[in-house]
């Protein structure tokens, strides 16, 4: 059947055609262990086997051979009704897809199959090509939240995309999972409304992970117009929001947030006390020296170390100014 296949492989390749599932399982497993590049064609044919175990092992074997000719046959497995087959094929393709496969992916994403669309959206993150943008945009309005989430996540992996007005609406999506990814993606977009939307999400969103992600994204923009919102978020009920807000203020704080940061020096979470001390050090106002001195007795060693550094930084700045 395969004239160009060597004698060592031949018995196993023939066994792969057996009507008994057990034989096909043994054959595909053995071919996987042999790892011979010549077995690629029979292994690709095994992807169409009716037994999912044979199919799964064939995917793993092809994955290990890392031959780019397998990309298209593996893509077909992404629409499999079996979750394990889809996951294995996706893992294999994550390593196999290259920028040259973009057109194959874009063809596949137009197929009316939920699993195929979802998996291709994930694979597009590996290629980073802005040409994929027109194909990603329609999913922002999909009825399935999984597709909206995958699409907005993929958007932040596409190079050279700086503005994307349709993406902004997802920060007010009905699903918290979509809003979480949308806030992270907005950190990489430069649309005019981005900062305002992130600030609203930071203080008003009911989901704490959205609020935390908003604080992270504001840190990427380093926009000082967000300071008053960050000041409000320093008293958020969730400690992670307070922590990431304090971190963001390390980049863009001014004197107006000093009282709120000083209050954070007595927070029950040591991470927040530490990040607030760093932010106060970066602001460099000598009026906070006495407060920082008090944190040198903090029960957490990290807080003590970073408070000392903040004090040293402020004193150094004072000396430079006096000179």
């Amino acid at each position: 059947m395969y004239d160009d296949i060597n004698d060592e492989l031949n018995p196993w390749v023939e066994m792969l055609q057996s009507s008994a599932v057990e034989d096909r399982l043994v054959a595909v497993k053995t071919l996987q262990h042999m790892g011979d590049e010549e077995a690629i064609v029979p292994l690709i044919q095994a992807l169409e086997d009716e037994d999912t175990s044979v199919k799964k092992i064939a995917i793993t074997a092809i994955w290990e051979l890392t031959n780019p000719i397998a990309v298209k046959p593996l893509m077909a497995c992404l629409r499999s009704p079996d979750a394990e087959v889809r996951e294995e094929a996706l893992s294999a393709l994550k390593e196999l897809v290259a920028p040259a496969d973009l057109l194959i992916l874009l063809d596949a994403i137009e197929e009316d199959n939920f699993y195929m669309q979802l998996n291709v959206l994930i694979l597009l993150r590996k290629i980073h090509d802005a040409q994929a943008l027109p194909y990603v945009l329609p999913f922002f309005e999909s009825e399935r939240e999984e597709l909206r989430e995958a699409a907005i996540t993929t958007l932040r992996y596409l190079n050279q995309v700086e503005t994307c007005p349709p993406a902004l609406a997802l920060i007010n999506d009905s699903s918290a999972v979509v809003r979480r990814e949308a806030t992270l993606t907005l950190g990489y977009l430069k649309d005019e409304e981005v900062i305002e939307l992130l600030c609203e999400a930071l203080t008003d969103d009911p989901d704490w992970q959205v609020r935390r992600n908003a604080a992270q994204s504001i840190a990427l923009h380093k926009d000082t117009s967000a300071i008053s919102w960050l000041k409000k978020a320093l008293s958020d009920e969730h400690w992670q929001v307070r922590k990431f807000t304090a971190r963001t203020l390390q980049e863009i704080a001014d004197d107006s947030v000093i009282p709120a940061l000083v209050k954070c020096l007595t927070d029950e979470y040591s991470d927040i006390r530490r990040d607030a001390a760093i932010a106060l050090g970066n602001i460099g106002n000598p009026e906070v020296l006495s407060v920082l001195q008090q944190t040198l007795d903090d029960p957490d060693a990290d807080v003590r170390i970073f408070s000392q550094r903040a004090i040293d930084k402020i004193r150094q700045q004072q000396t430079t100014v006096n000179q």
Binding site: E22, L25, V26, V28, K29, T30, H33, S53
Partner: protein, 75 residues
């Protein structure tokens, strides 16, 4: 290396109803070569009670016939 007398006491348990006679996957991947085929039944079993609990035998078995019982303190 001690020969095992009671197969139920060894850490690598093979479900004989699932083990394929022509398959050698677990035997090939075992770094200690302690798995062998029973010539009478054609099923794999742990001949020597030596195991690193490295798990490729369990992972590579195409029918999930192998269970490695990891001692509590190694978990």
């Amino acid at each position: 290396m001690a020969l095992t007398t009671q197969r139920v006491d060894v850490p690598v348990i093979v479900d004989e109803s699932k083990c394929l006679e022509k398959c050698q996957a677990c035997i090939e991947v075992c770094p200690l070569d302690v798995l062998v085929k029973n010539p009478e039944t054609g099923k794999a079993y742990m001949k020597y009670d030596e195991c690193w609990f490295c798990l490729p035998c369990e992972k590579e078995c195409p029918t999930n016939a192998i269970t490695v019982q990891i001692p509590f303190l190694l978990r």
